[in-house]
């Protein structure tokens, strides 16, 4: 579908009553990275299109489920369009949560070095079209939410202390035979790696351009590994990009981020397709022509029976994850 037709279709969908609510929620679903409209696109192109989807979702009347996407963008986003669209979406929240100002200021700081004018009125942007800059959009939102600040709302970080049940709590059973290769070239299956142990799995790839995502994930996984110490807890990072992330790359990526390797703490790649893992865990990852074009921040906690819970689309900290996984290990 040509981009101009796609843009018009998205605008039309935003006028439909059930586009973000009810069983279909077809527009809301397009915020997920694995939506087909992003497949094969480059990372910047994909961010621009997704920003426009976010704008359409806001125009349709923001559904509660959209908040996780907005928060994730304001916490980690580096693309001016994506951050501007998330900041504009905040204006549609009936009651902005406490702490939103801090999140907005952080986002403005993060994109100030890559700021540019943004155009979210249509997709693709017509040649020469220029709206306000992305930082200006964030500052405008700050001015608005300053007037709406509501101390009765829960703070933004209130839901970060424990993992939530996932939509796929028993997915690990489907992955038992998936073969993985670690940073030293050793082969192991999912079943062998966990075999009745509790643990965590997070996802990353070494070519990730956003330091708030993969680089941070592996550094924090390393800190988590130190926190759980000599317990029989598995700490694993699995790459989204197994064809590129060969063992040597995994090893170097972990080493420079302080990840101490051991039998239960490894960085891994699938030896075959990554698709079974992506599908089973419903991962928020999309692919361009040569590599990942965008992904969520995702960490799964696995208890000794293989049941999953997850920190999804949020910057987790190692203390919260350690508490969750050590609880799962004892339980």
């Amino acid at each position: 579908m040509p981009d101009a037709v796609l843009g018009a279709d998205l605008m039309r969908r935003a006028t439909e009553a059930d586009c973000c609510r009810g069983p279909d929620r077809d527009l809301l679903r397009l915020l997920r990275e694995d939506a087909p409209i992003y497949a094969g696109r480059g990372a910047v192109e994909s961010e621009r299109l997704r920003a426009f989807v976010m704008e359409c979702v806001s125009n349709a009347g923001l559904a509660p489920e959209a908040w996780a996407f907005i928060r994730e963008e304001l916490e980690t986003g580096m693309d001016p369009y994506a951050v501007a669209a998330a900041a504009r979406a905040v204006r549609s929240l009936p009651s902005p949560p406490r702490g939103i100002e801090r999140l907005l200021r952080g986002a403005a700081d993060r994109i100030s070095a890559v700021d540019e004018t943004v155009w979210l009125a249509s997709y693709p942007a017509p040649q020469g079209a220029a709206g306000p800059s992305a930082v200006a959009e964030v500052m405008e939102t700050l001015a608005i939410v300053g007037r709406l600040a509501n101390d009765t709302m829960p703070p933004i970080c209130a839901d970060q202390t424990s993992p939530k049940e996932t939509a796929v709590p028993n997915a690990i059973a489907d992955l038992a035979d998936v073969e993985l290769e670690d940073q030293d070239g050793r082969l192991i299956t999912f079943a062998e790696l966990f075999s009745g142990r509790a643990g965590v799995i997070s996802f990353f790839y070494t070519r990730c351009m956003n330091p708030n995502k993969c680089s941070r994930t592996i550094a924090r996984l390393g800190a988590l590994r130190d926190l759980v110490g000599d317990t029989a807890v598995v700490v694993a990072g699995i790459t989204y990009d197994p064809a590129y992330d060969l063992p040597e790359r995994l090893r170097r990526y972990g080493e420079v981020r302080g990840f101490r390797f051991g039998p239960l703490s490894r960085l891994l790649r699938t030896t075959g397709s990554f698709e079974p893992i992506r599908r089973a865990l419903e991962l928020g990852v999309g692919y361009g022509a040569a590599t990942v074009n965008r992904h969520a921040v995702e960490l799964f906690v696995i208890d000794r029976t293989g049941r999953l819970s997850a920190f999804e689309r949020q910057l987790w900290n190692e203390q919260d994850v350690a508490a969750a996984v050590l609880g799962a290990e004892v339980g």
Binding site: D115, A243, Y244, E248, G288, A290, V292
Partner: protein, 244 residues
Amino acid sequence: MNPKDYRRQVEEALKASSNVARRDVRASPGLQAGPDWARDLDELMDTARNAREREDALWRLQAGTFLVAQFAQYRPRYIQALQLAATDADQTLRHAAFDVLANNKDDFARRKLTEGLQDPEKALVSPAVALGLLARDDHGAATSLARSFLSADSDPATRAQAVRVLSADPASTSLLAERMGDKNEFREVRRASAVALRSLDPARFRALAQDILADHSDFQEIKATVRGALERDAATPLATPAPT
């Protein structure tokens, strides 16, 4: 602009910025004024102005980008000005603008470069330049275009830049190995393929490099390239170089 001039501009911008900071602290008049980026932006966007003057303004602004915090408020308009310059009638100015935009992974530049590769009548730069600029974004989407140029285009520079685009794509490993080993291929394309393959699949590169070293009919400069890479990887070349 040559690198020396560019460096001098950056140094002047840094010096001027430092003077501005001192002036802020001491509030004393008479010190050297800082760069006037607003004026430079007006010059760059003034299409009635001489192209060389606009290009000079572009490089002064680009030097300013090193002062990230001070330049931040000018950046949105700078990107707009670059997008305007990228479609200018003057080729040198156009190339300079695309050069900067491509380093910023700019989506407008990507669209224009891609359009030009798909339709020569819309091309603002040559296919080799366009592919080279697109190759700077390893999260781009130009791999299928690069494959078509590699299969149909006979210009060595274009073919080499197509290989550079594919160097980000693990699915192109076999194609790169094929180009690296083909003695009928242009040597610069074979060298670019060797560099790409070494990054994507070091084991396959080493095996193919050993084959090339063992082939007495292959070219000495290709052998020198792969031998050097093997030595840097601390892999011992097994084959004796062919007699000359």
